[in-house]
Amino acid sequence: MDIIDLSWWQLGIGFLILIIPAWILWRYKTGLNKKLGIATVRMTLQLLFVGYYLEYLFELDNAWLNAAWIMVMVLVADFATIDRSELNRKKSLLIPIFAATFFGIIVIDLFFLEAVIQLPTFLSAQYTIPITGMVLGNCLRSNVIGINAFYYSLHEHQERYRFYLCCGATRNEAVFPFFRDALKKSANPTLASMATIGLVSLPGMMTGQILSGSSPLIAIKYQIMIMLAIFSGTVLSVYLGIKLSNRFVFFENDVLDESIFVD
């Protein structure tokens, strides 16, 4: 079946549906209408930019350019992770979390794109950019949950952490329960969506493929693969994010550098 192209004016009509939620939000004085306006404009502009950029990227289909684009996406995700985790943009956090996310994404990309799908051209844009984007978006969400949970819990329960140190624990041993809880919190949403996928919701990637004419069977194979990639990528990047940043946010006496927290 051919895909029905969406004209710009049809898309414009689509925006009209926002009148309903905007009226509800206004009626109940939620104060969210301004936010809704900004979010809608941002979403539209960002996606327009990405759409045009991707057209250009797909046309060139250069592995180096694609890798550079991944770097830019990871860099934006790095700042967003730290801001949304309510931590300060310090070098001791920015560099390790960037390295963790980048490494996590590269491992997942190389494994799935090159070893599983076996792309005919290395890091082909058509596959690399969307798959990386999906994994990275989920990594960002999990990193925010995991990194925020880890550092704020350590901050809140400092006495417990120090008690462990005074019981002979190394720093790694003393942070272990906080690390475990952060991993659990960050992995749970993805596990929950894996357990209900297909029953409660049809995932975006699969829907997109079906809409663009793929057979549902091809779509589910890709969807299963992307779920595996998302789960592995998120756990790996949260693990590395905490592990690497841990090396830079403690003083020599194992005291956590409190200046990482937003006041």
């Binding site: 329960h157 008690f163 005074c166 019981c167 002979g168 624990a169 190394t170 329960p177 194992d254 005291v255």
Partner: protein
């Protein structure tokens, strides 16, 4: 601020604080403060809230650095290396111990599984015996730690500290949530041993049983 020195000889001196200055932002906590604590001493630190009891513990445990002056452990000035060594030779019991969620036995086991503690991991019989000495039953091991009363958590914490076999104990208000019987049991367990006990306390009963009182 008063300055205290020990009457015991320098050779048994465990901690020595020499002319330290410490402040939190603009608030000065210690100014030219000195103190010596000897091996085997039972010391009670008294003082009003904000007088520096907690800060003194933090300084002695290496969690804070003095602005000026020096702290010595066994005659050696504090450094990152000997702070780590010190923390393997002491234990510290906070006033209101929180070990997170889980049953008491699992949470205590986690501590005995630290690499440094593996060799001294106590047998179940020794754990039960220690709990009984502190007026606690064996069943407490299977209870959820966070459901225990403050006094029970305090005694479980003390049992863990005791079972680690360290010779130096820092205790933060160790009798604040205990009845007379439990206080006696705690005192019987740790005050008779060859332990150095450094405690903060407002409890006259406990202070009376210490060798020395330091008022901040």
């Amino acid at each position: 601020m008063r300055t205290f020195s020990s009457e015991r000889s320098m050779s048994s001196q465990l901690f020595s604080i020499q002319n330290i200055h410490f402040r939190y932002d603009e608030e000065s906590v210690f100014q030219d403060f000195s103190l010596a604590i000897n091996q085997g001493e039972k010391v009670a630190i008294k003082g009003a809230s904000g007088s520096g009891k907690t800060t003194l513990f933090r300084l002695l445990l290496g969690f804070e650095h003095p602005e000026k002056g020096e702290i010595f452990y066994h005659g050696a000035p504090y450094s990152s290396k000997n702070i780590h060594k010190l923390r393997k030779e002491v234990t510290w019991l906070p006033q209101d111990l929180n070990l997170g969620s889980g049953n008491t036995s699992e949470l205590a086991d986690f501590i005995f599984e630290f690499h440094h503690n593996k060799e001294s991991k106590p047998q179940k019989t020794k754990i039960v015996e220690t709990l009984q000495k502190l007026n606690l039953s064996e069943e407490i091991l299977e209870s959820t730690f966070s459901n225990l009363s403050t006094g029970q958590r305090q005694r479980v914490g003390l049992a863990i500290c005791y079972l680690l076999g360290r010779k130096i104990m820092f205790l933060d208000e160790p009798t604040s949530a205990l009845d007379e019987r439990s206080k006696q049991k705690v005192s019987d367990l740790i005050m008779k041993e060859d332990l150095t006990v450094i405690s903060t306390s407002h409890d006259p009963w406990w202070v009376e049983r210490c060798d020395r009182v330091i008022e901040l």
